[in-house]
């Protein structure tokens, strides 16, 4: 293994590899920061440029872009409450309140450092465990996937503050929206009104832009040009005391491991990783009441997890040729153009590819973090732009981002509709997070629930005969029940005090 790692690092003797790494990291950083463009689109855009390149150079560039783009989504999430990807939604929950408190620089610095550590830790795990854990992930059948999605939903059920009933309604809205489109098992169009544009379901990015960003614009217009808090200028390199960072080390490490493990399971991916680790961090935090109101722990756990999920998603791709995320699915195409077929023989046939990926993830971390920290100083000033101008810019980003996600008007219409819906729901104090989560998990739940029953010929035993499924169901039930019990205890304790 060390021999092969040496081969991986030796690739960096070629200056072109460095060029690809720096270019990939920089391009990814910008692409991720533009809502509507995400890591998978970024990788796809870069593929045509990799044709003439050496395979090693191109894979280094693509991996750097993937990792940096997964981070870039945090920038707009923190600054303007517009998560560019579903994986950055949890970052916005605390990042945006921090910006409103004038702490954008801190939030951005924590997000980039957590991302960097996330990638560093998960790459170490990737080198040690890619093959055995990917083999283990094969045990995930439809029953297990259904249970996993349920864990995701139940963990976050307790995340929304305020009325549990309103949270449930939001989740119901999300689950309903997820049923739109061609039914994956029978091909029957559902709720499409006969319009083929709805066949592939509601596109997630425009929904995100509408619900979060456009509705925020409407609120800005409503509030008018009131005085807002100036962002504290970034002092020093990392904008926050080292002591603060040290205080986050447990959160970051735990989220990195969690993000990596969830990322390995094909189909789970960065968004579920960030939601789940956010929920865990809140449960285990000493100050859970600050989550959602500007907790640095919240930002750190979401960002560490969604970036370590990058290494996680690469594990089944490199070990088995099975992509762990939409972005790694695109990468298969990039490798095939180079004449490399990812598959179970990749480690024996072309060990230089996986080991260069490992090396480039490590070498890329400091570069990505430097770009991010330098960027944080500039971005933090964005938070000082007058509200009217910000509203106009964000509205512009919403339209351009939605349009560019498919280069048609359909996603723009979806974005506007969701913007209006988001505004009304927020006015009525319905939480938005359960909608997004239910949309992401709803399709996974439904598809795998039906796939499980179809493959078991309608026998429900498939849901309780596998130990893995039972374990996941237990976690789901605990996640749902424990916070309720805690709340009950708290109420009793309060009652005693009175």
């Amino acid at each position: 293994m060390f021999e092969n790692l040496a081969i991986g690092f030796a690739a960096f003797g070629d200056p072109m590899v460095w060029v690809a790494l720096v270019f990939g990291a920089f391009a990814g950083y910008l692409i991720g920061a533009i809502p509507g463009l995400g890591p998978s689109l970024g990788v796809a855009l870069l593929i045509p440029f990799t044709y003439g390149m050496d395979p090693v150079v191109s894979i280094v560039g693509l991996v750097a872009l993937y990792a940096a783009a997964e981070y870039g989504g945090a920038i707009t999430a923190v600054l303007i409450n517009s998560p560019g990807t579903a994986a950055a939604v949890a970052t916005a929950w605390d990042g945006y309140p921090l910006t409103q408190q004038g702490r954008a620089g801190e939030a951005l610095s924590v997000s980039i450092i957590s991302s960097g550590i996330g990638i560093f830790v998960s790459t170490a795990l990737l080198i040690l465990t890619a093959v055995p854990l990917s083999e283990f992930a094969l045990r995930f059948g439809p029953g297990e996937y259904f249970a996993l999605a349920l864990v995701g939903l139940s963990l976050v059920a307790g995340l929304s503050d305020g009325s549990p009933l309103k949270g449930a309604v939001s989740m119901g809205i999300g689950l309903s929206l997820a049923t739109i489109g061609l039914d994956a098992q029978t091909g029957v169009p559902r709720f499409t009104g006969g319009n083929p544009e709805f066949f592939e379901g509601l596109p997630l990015v425009p929904v995100l832009l509408g619900l979060y960003a456009l509705s925020e614009v409407l609120f800005m217009i409503e509030d008018g040009p009131t005085e807002k808090k100036k962002s504290t200028p970034v002092a020093g390199i990392i904008a926050l005391p080292v002591k603060t960072l040290l205080g986050l080390k447990t959160v970051i490490l735990r989220s990195s491991v969690l993000g990596y493990v969830i990322g390995i399971i094909p189909g789970a991916g960065a968004s579920i990783a960030s939601f789940v680790s956010y929920a865990f961090s809140r449960r285990l935090s000493k100050t859970p009441e600050r989550f959602g109101k500007g907790s640095l722990e919240g930002v750190a756990s979401s960002e560490a997890a969604n970036n370590s999920a990058v290494a996680g998603a690469l594990a089944p791709l490199l070990a088995l040729g099975i992509p762990g995320s939409p972005t790694t699915a695109v990468m298969i195409g990039a490798l095939m153009v180079q004449g490399i077929q990812p598959g179970p023989l990749l480690f024996t046939r072309s060990p230089e590819i996986p080991y260069t990926v490992f090396a480039s993830l490590w070498v890329g971390v400091p570069i990505m973090v430097l770009i991010g920290l330098a960027g944080a100083r500039i971005w933090a000033r964005v938070a000082n732009i007058p509200r009217a101008a910000i509203a106009a810019i964000v509205a512009g980003i919403c339209f351009v981002g939605a349009y560019s996600s498919e280069t048609t008007m359909f996603p723009v219409h979806v974005m506007v509709a969701c913007g209006l819906m988001g505004y009304v729901l927020r006015k009525l104090q319905f939480p938005l997070a359960p909608i997004i989560l239910a949309m992401v998990l709803g399709e996974m739940m439904e598809t795998n629930f039906r796939r499980a029953l179809i493959s078991a010929k309608g026998d429900w035993a498939i849901f309780y005969t596998s130990p893995l499924t039972m374990l996941l169901f237990t976690v789901a039930v605990l996640a749902f029940v424990l916070p309720g019990l805690a709340a009950l205890r708290a109420r009793k304790a309060r009652a005693r005090e009175v």
């Binding site: 998978s40 091909g187 544009e197 592939e200 095939m336 179970p344």
Partner: protein, 342 residues
Amino acid sequence: MQSDRMEREEQMKLNNLKKTLVGLASAAMLVLGGSGSVAAQDDWKPSGAVNFVLHTKPGGGVDVFTRTLAKSLEPLIGQSIVVVNAPGGGGATQMAKVRAAAPDGLTLGVNTVTHFTGMLTNLRGTFSPDDFEWIALAQEDPILFFVAKNSELDSITDLVELARANGGEVNIGGFGPVGSMQNIGMTMLEQQAGVKFNWVAFESTPDIIAAVLGGHVDVGVSNLGPALSFFEADRLKGLGVLGEKRLSTLPDMQTFGEQGYDVDTSWIQVRGVFGPKGMPLDLQKQIAHAIHTAMQADGYQKYARSAGVEDSDYGPVEYADFVQRLTRLAEEQLVAAGLVNN
């Protein structure tokens, strides 16, 4: 700065010219060595950049095919090729773009069998094969049935017997819902063998392979390309291929026909090129010729062999025929499955 760029452009034009000349020479040689009936002035000379509109996102099989083809086609026609990814609507977004384009050969689409089944089901009434010209068939990609290495099944016959023994309780995982290309392939085998299987729909081929390896379905269906490395790693075992002849890369796997199941072998996955209605036949022939010539380039050949697909040389006349045959076959099957009312 400005002059720099102009210089570069000049250089690029020169390079393109060189490539074009080389391309022309090789095309001419092919023509001379071939039928001899097509003269050099019949070469496709588009007046501007050519758009290839795809119904999929970047990075998938269709995308890799188009981009690899474009690489060897560009020098041949002396124009750049723009790959436009227009996913959405089960192909509707792409087909709308192609149908609305001028029939000048500057806007073309890439199609698969899904286009034909789609036009019979979800997109029935919205699009029909008559809305387009079917210009050239480029790839034929037969489907195969496979199991995990440790499976007790060794052949299609074993599979059929197992299904007969336990009343159809054999799970077959494949791409797309009931009525999809691969699902129809399975139903055609059901009809021939007089048994029933249990179709489990997946949304990507790697997921199917993972489910077979993990033991979540008994049998998987896929094209060769994505499964090839798993055969080479000795983790999958082939039961049979639905094709005219055995696959050159997996010569030990018998065809359905060899095992006594007479399933129509024209039911294969294809990748072809189509355009808007009203393109002159001469232009279509030129385009088909250019595409088939570009497919002989080393880069394309290397890709096609590793992707496990067979090359086709069907031009507009043969391809239009083939499309009719395929559509008829699909319609029969969809009617039989109760998915389409005739």
